[in-house]
């Protein structure tokens, strides 16, 4: 601010400070977001002695303001005078760490974790660690939950006496009266394990883990499953069997479906953490049970993991395990009563073909794919079709094409337009894999039928689909198969279909090239400029603007320009507007 008049430069800052308590939340939020500007203007001394005490007491505010404040304070170290003074930021963050709003508390904890790194080891013990203790022994559970997230950042940097205290605090919180705190502790168990010495991991953490995993509240138990992954990764292989597996086995058979769901959801991580031997002996039967679980949510979560689980099986016995243990369960799931389970399976089952190879795929998987292609639920069929590429690589799509076609046709005519939309989006992919002949023979009519669908989103997607097909099969194919049909629609009595012709031309002109555009498309567009519906006419103007760059200058001057000029004097104001816009964009004026 050198050289500026003192009064002048203070004014904007003065406004910011006053607006810290404006009645309008948005203005307060703006001020908080520029807190660093205020602090810079006040200097480090006044920031520490005046601004921070004020902020510490302003925790009455709206959540979004508090959230912004919590975030700002994480980057405030230099503004209070550097690492030497970083502890001045602790009081406001401490009060923010006790508010009831979880997002605010989490942000305050995040900022505290960040600035803990800027504390010197001495400051950490003098200022930071006492704060953690205060939070950990606070009256309200909000402060105790916040404490859970701070242990792991100070533990590695404090003396062994303080370390012992921290471990004690963590133990206490794991057995807290309120489930909120136990949940917070359980969710930080994995993180805390990582910073602990191996001996303490075995002596302290395992007992806490076991206790949390058998908590009376299932919302706590299910978090222990997550911790299980981290703990198993940290322990030497030989200890896993005695220290972790009993708990994991128990979780996989928990009475509560939510806990079993969590096991299913984390299965791949667990598999990696416990290693191949335990996977073979324990996880395979556990996985089979989850695939046969009585709760559909659990089966769906497990079904989602089928491919990943099989991929990660030890190579020497992979095929044997899949064929004898997993595949029988998968076969049952194909005819599950719940459609979410079936569609979860359908989204991954195709991936098994790469793992099992050509012969097994044809013999065992193909019947399943075919069954799913005939499933009553459209989502299941869609999921199979959307993953065809995996099978294509292994056995070629021809094996499937006979069953594929009826499935596609049925989806293409589904009563729900979202289903039709989804299948359209897979058309270019299918076309690429099935080849041009098969496509012309079987699917072309479908693609054209979508152009006159009664839902706009479908007509629009169909237009886009044509463009992708032309990109794939080339201009010559377009000229023979698509363009005549598209142009034919220009004479349709329904103006919406006439407009579809224009939209198709917009999409296709570039891919078809100058020759086709000038000779075949342009005459049709120009003819439509006299359409009696204004919407068609202004779309003609828009189309001309769009295809203009593809045309040569002769065509532009002699054919396009007169038509646009005429449209520019149209009685309809939208037609006029778009004609004028086209004239100026194409520089025809």
């Amino acid at each position: 601010m050198a050289g500026a008049d003192g009064d002048d430069s203070l004014y904007p800052i003065a406004v910011l400070i006053d607006e810290l308590r404006n009645e309008d939340v948005q203005l307060r939020l703006n001020s908080i977001k520029k807190l660093s500007t205020i602090a810079l203007a006040l200097g480090v001394e006044r920031t520490r002695t005046e601004l921070l005490p004020f902020l510490t007491d302003t925790i009455y505010d709206e959540d979004e303001v508090l959230l912004a404040l919590a975030e700002q304070l994480g980057n405030f170290t230099m503004l209070v005078g550097g690492p030497e003074y970083v502890h001045c930021l602790l009081p406001p963050l401490e009060s923010l760490a006790t508010v009831e709003e979880t997002v605010v508390r989490d942000k305050a904890v995040e900022s505290l974790r960040k600035i803990s790194q800027e504390h010197s080891p001495v400051d950490l013990e003098v200022h930071f660690e006492p704060l953690v203790k205060r939070l950990a022994s606070g009256d309200w559970f909000t402060s105790r939950t916040s404490a859970c997230g701070l242990f792991s950042v100070c533990y590695p940097r404090v003396s062994s006496t303080v370390k012992a205290e921290i471990r004690q605090h963590f133990r206490t919180l794991c057995a807290d009266d309120t489930p909120m705190v136990r949940r917070a502790a359980a969710s930080k168990l994995g993180e805390f394990s990582k910073v602990l010495e191996l001996d303490y991991l075995k002596s302290d953490i395992i007992s806490l883990f076991t206790a949390l995993a058998s908590d009376e509240q299932d919302s706590v138990r299910l978090l222990a499953v997550e911790a299980c992954v981290s703990i198993a990764t940290l322990l030497p292989q030989e200890d896993l069997e005695t220290l972790v597996m009993p708990t994991l086995r128990q979780a996989a058979e928990d009475k509560s479906w939510r806990v079993r769901y969590m096991v299913a959801d984390k299965f791949s991580e667990l598999q990696k953490a416990v290693g191949p031997e335990i996977t073979k002996n324990d996880l395979v039967p556990a996985f089979q049970n989850l695939l046969k679980d009585c709760e559909a949510e659990v089966r769906a979560a497990a079904a989602n993991k089928v491919k990943e689980f099989c991929e990660n099986l030890p190579e020497d016995s992979r095929e044997q395990i899949i064929m004898t243990h997993i595949l029988p369960c998968v076969k049952e799931l194909v005819s599950d009563t719940n459609q979410h389970v079936k569609s979860a399976l359908a989204s991954v089952i195709m991936g098994l073909s790469t793992i099992l190879g050509k012969d097994n795929t044809i013999e065992h998987l193909l019947p399943l794919f075919l069954a799913q292609l005939k499933d009553e639920c459209p989502e299941v069929r869609l999921n199979i079709i959307s993953n065809l590429d995996c099978v294509n690589e292994v056995i070629g799509i021809r094996q499937l094409s006979q069953s594929l076609l009826p499935a596609i046709v049925e989806l293409a005519e589904d009563a729900k337009w979202r289903v039709r939309l989804a299948i359209i989006e897979y058309m270019p992919l299918l076309a690429g894999q099935l080849g041009v002949e098969f496509f012309d023979e079987k699917l072309n009519t479908l693609c054209m039928a979508w152009l006159i669908d009664h839902v706009y989103a479908i007509r629009e997607a169909a237009t886009c689909n044509l463009m992708k097909l032309v990109e794939k099969f080339g201009a010559e194919w377009a000229q023979n198969t698509i363009v005549p049909k598209v142009l034919g629609m220009a004479n349709d009595p329904n103006y919406l279909h006439r407009m579809t012709t224009l939209f198709c031309i917009n999409a296709l002109s570039e891919a078809c090239g100058q020759d086709i555009t000038t000779k075949q498309m342009l005459p049709v567009v120009l003819k439509m400029s006299t359409d009696q519906v204004a919407n068609v006419r202004f779309n003609v103007a828009k189309s001309l603007q769009k295809i203009g760059p593809v045309l040569d200058s002769n065509a532009l001057q002699t054919e396009v320009k007169p038509v646009l000029e005429k449209l520019a004097t149209d009685t309809d104001m939208d037609v006029k507007y778009f004609a004028q816009e086209a004239i100026s964009v194409l520089a025809l004026a």
Binding site: D7, Y11, I13, A14, V15, E100, Q217, S219, S256
Partner: protein, 461 residues
């Protein structure tokens, strides 16, 4: 002897220490609300609820307002203030709305209030009308920021060019201000009218029940809830039963119960499946064929279900009785108390004036040793579970002198009317006590009588 009563079929004087086994009498403490004879509909109290400590007492009314009372601090020189509550905060929780898609008016009436366990210095409660549940925060503020840069002390604007230094506001003490702010709005999840909300013991979820469905919410997520019970038949003409009330177990986060219009209660375990359409336990008392009548089904409909604080028992209220069930016994209740059996002969006229559809609630005392529920004529009833003694008391302006002992009331049941008895025919059916609440620790009760809230407390002899 004053303060003694003759029990029904009484064999001599007995003490009236219903609740807690102590020898005490109930006495008047306070009455809230206008004295006017003509009552505005909006002022009718529709729910009463103490918080977990008993420090605060909330009421909701038909006008969509929530009034919170705070317990008056006891002081040595005014020890009698023990049961005194004063207004702490009043706010408009719900406004009348109109559903344009269904052409339906949505009343602002507060159907239920439930407190959340306290989590920091502020207090939180859920309030609901027929469709929308709201989470409110009630917090105190006793400091105010002072000092502006652009204004001087009198509020006059300063010349922006004459600001030579920056002022950071300072916080100064001010008079205590209580603010209620809406924190979350849980809407659009109920097609039918919400009759119950109940906070789960996991402190992060709660359930809400309407006539046909029960949803489970996370307290922090407003745009999504999980349907856990759905009894709507595919064809609405096959509808025979509706959900009348639902509550979470006080300790086991996976257990909840719901009652039905057929007089049955289903207990569900959320651990077994995501959708709790199949119950784990089914509580039903076989009907006595001899007393079967046209009204049997209507009067067996359960209007309220409450778990005991211990979690071992639950209590249900139907039109004529309160039943206590042991969760371990499904085939019949362990205790049945008649609330106003003398109305059995009047069911026909109660049906005609719609009173038979009144939804009476019920509540436990802090130690689960006594229960309370309402009746007509501003009478309310208490039953001591240990001694099986019962008592009828009246919430009325007449006995509303401070510390005045409540006289037991008695309704004559046929034969000749004794002195001090009231005949069934002279009961006022417009004065009904539907909502009552018992302090979680003390013998302090709150009784809603139309637009008045009565607070009574014990007086130890």
């Amino acid at each position: 002897m004053a303060g003694k009563l003759l029990l029904k079929g009484g064999k001599g004087p007995t003490s009236l220490g219903v609740a807690g086994g102590n020898d005490f009498q109930w006495c008047f403490s306070q009455v809230k609300g206008a004295i006017d004879e003509d009552v505005a509909d909006a002022d009718i109290i529709s729910t009463v609820e103490f918080n977990y400590s008993g420090e605060l007492l909330a009421t909701g009314d038909k006008g969509g307002r929530v009034v919170i009372f705070q317990h008056e601090q006891e002081s040595k020189n005014r020890p009698h203030l023990r049961g005194e509550y004063n207004v702490y905060s009043t706010f408009q929780s719900h406004e009348p709305e109109f559903d344009y898609l269904k052409s339906l008016e949505i009343e602002e009436k507060i159907n239920k209030i439930r407190w959340l366990p306290q989590q920091n210095a502020a207090h939180f409660l859920l309030s609901t009308n027929d469709k929308t549940i709201k989470l409110w925060k009630i917090s105190e503020r006793d400091k105010r920021a002072e000092g502006y840069n652009l204004k001087d002390e009198d509020g006059r604007l300063r010349d922006p060019f004459r600001i030579t230094s920056l002022r950071v506001p300072v916080l100064m003490p001010m008079d205590l201000m209580v603010e209620a702010s809406p924190r979350r709005i849980f809407a659009n999840a109920h097609t039918y009218h919400i009759n119950s909300i109940s906070v789960n013991s996991d402190h992060e979820t709660y359930l809400s029940a309407d006539d046909l469905r029960i949803n489970l919410w996370h307290l922090e997520i407003t745009d999504r809830s999980f349907n856990i019970v759905d009894i709507k038949p595919a064809n609405m003409e096959e509808l025979t039963e509706v959900i009348t009330a639902a509550e979470c177990h006080p300790h086991q986060c996976n257990v909840f119960v719901y009652s039905s219009s057929k007089g049955t209660i289903r207990l569900c375990d959320m651990r077994s499946a995501a959708l709790c359409d199949r119950h784990s336990k089914f509580f039903e008392e076989p009907e006595d064929p001899s007393s079967r009548s046209f009204f049997s089904e209507i009067i067996s409909s359960i209007s309220d279900v409450k778990f005991s604080h211990s979690g071992r028992y639950m209590m249900t209220r139907d039109y004529l009785s309160v039943k206590v069930w042991d969760l371990n016994m499904e085939n019949r209740p362990v205790e049945t108390y008649q609330v106003h059996e003398y109305l059995r002969s009047k069911l026909c006229s109660l049906y005609e004036n719609d009173c038979i559809f009144d939804k009476f609630e019920c509540c436990w005392n802090g130690s689960d040793s006594a229960i309370m529920t309402g009746s007509y004529n501003n009478f309310f009833r208490m039953f001591d579970r240990n001694t099986r003694r019962d008592i009828t008391l009246e919430a009325s302006r007449e006995s509303s002198k401070p510390r005045a002992t409540l006289k037991p009331r008695k309704v004559s049941t046929g034969g000749k009317r004794k002195k001090d008895e009231i005949s069934v025919d002279s009961l006022d059916f417009n004065k009904k006590i539907l909502h009552t609440a018992w302090h979680p620790k003390d013998n302090v009760i709150a009784v809603a009588a139309t637009n008045n809230l009565y607070i009574f407390q014990d007086k130890i002899n």
